[in-house]
Point group: C2
């Protein structure tokens, strides 16, 4: 899969790109079911909201075959190799739940702020990717992005350790206000299988989900191999230190897995 | 202003009706400015979020001329008299801030639950009205309604005294899930000046607002005079006991006030 010149330009100017229905309903069904099984497990990689509902599951590509296939899927790897002009490795892999009724806020932040401060990543040459496992609607806490905010580079941030269960370098209201005056806010929505990618310095956040509609996404970070992290301070399953370039799987590998999985379940 | 047969039918079936741009930009501008002045005051009618930001200001029609005119405006009074077939009085009058960045959740609830339990209102023959003072967008915490949920009558509810600064009789997640399976969720959005009305038993809520866009609405309750409350337990400025029927003002009264106000300000 190759991005068009217009798509490449949009990414560089606006800082984000949305590819609707990149994965098929069959491929997504297995991931969604497997995610529920993962959330039921009791392991350190699974973090919960203050309510006890799952918030995020780290590193599922290392202990689940379906998520492993997604993590090296060519429909995701190839466009990002195209944008960065080199091979990639997996820096972080999360399944974010944004559970029905209880999914809590992710405050406004840049991800590169964390990668720089906590992991020693030299440059913002890592890509954030969200793969929609449920339908993302305006009302169930979609990711909100501030277009063009990546051009401001790494902004001053404070370390929020109290608002949610996830520590985050968050931006002040006046900074966010100024960025929104310039770029507005977009909240890409769509069916399961959509793929949203955005720049490591793009400011984003998401509101709580008070609806009965869960909004699970796979939220992962692919880093250019030459940009591998230099000073890891977080556990290996949060910020990986295996910098081996990813070899994409076959385009139908996840589909084949889904069909076998379905047969086995029947 | 008279509702069409189709609008009357929609209200009775779906439980809500949205009349976009019912008030003009000139009329809304004065209300929006006056609201900011009201929030700056230190008086018991003004309740704040846990953050200190304004959450709601009660009874502004009793101490502010512009909001007094809105409270007896024929574009609001006449359609509701048409639906109820009798005259109205003001049961409650709030300016809800849903402030930028800090506006907190209103959990899923029915308003009649409170009017029944706390005020002794005989029947759900009071109308909820939201007049938009700011643009209401999908991303700044719009009111979310569950269409047709009013047909279930008064549902069992628990008294939530801790989630926000406002005590509320809220519904359980499994009840909300079932209602949403039947009716879905709508979140009417639009420019300042829009008027949304909905049944006292219609289940509704709104998510926090984490954007820089404030979402102020005037949120008021007009009760059929014969349905006046019987056992008030809340302060007079929360649940009024003046049951005098409202005499509508002239259709241009708020506009004339706005023009004088603007002249005086220049």
């Amino acid at each position: 899969m190759k991005l068009s010149d217009a798509q490449v330009r949009q990414f560089h100017e606006e800082g984000w790109l949305f590819l609707p229905e990149t994965f098929t309903p069959e491929e997504i069904a297995v991931l969604r079911e497997e995610a529920l099984g993962i959330y039921d497990q009791d392991r350190p990689e699974i973090w919960r909201e203050k309510s006890g509902a799952p918030r995020t599951a780290f590193a599922a590509h290392l202990y689940n075959e379906a998520f492993a296939l997604l993590g090296r899927h060519p429909r995701m790897i190839e466009p990002i190799e195209q944008l960065f002009g080199e091979q990639l490795y997996m820096h972080q892999y999360k399944i974010n739940a944004k559970a029905a009724f209880t999914g809590d806020v992710w405050q406004w932040h840049q991800d590169y702020g964390t990668w720089l401060r906590d992991d020693g990543m030299p440059e913002p040459r890592a890509m954030n990717i969200a793969v929609f496992l449920d339908e993302v609607m305006p009302i169930n806490g979609p990711l909100m992005l501030i277009p063009r905010s990546q051009h401001h580079g790494n902004l001053a941030a404070g370390h929020d350790l109290s608002t949610t269960s996830y520590p985050l370098w968050t931006l002040d209201d006046d900074v966010v206000t100024k960025l929104v005056e310039e770029g507005g806010i977009v909240a890409p929505t769509g069916k399961p299988g959509g793929l949203l990618m955005f720049h490591g310095n793009l400011v984003h956040g998401s509101a709580p989900n008070i609806t009965p509609y869960p909004r699970k996404i796979v939220y992962l970070t692919l880093n250019a191999v030459s940009n591998h992290i230099r000073k890891p301070t977080r556990p290996e399953w949060i910020a990986h230190t295996d910098f081996t370039p990813i070899t994409p799987c076959a385009d139908d590998a996840l589909l084949q897995y889904a069909r076998q999985w379905k047969q086995a379940a029947e």
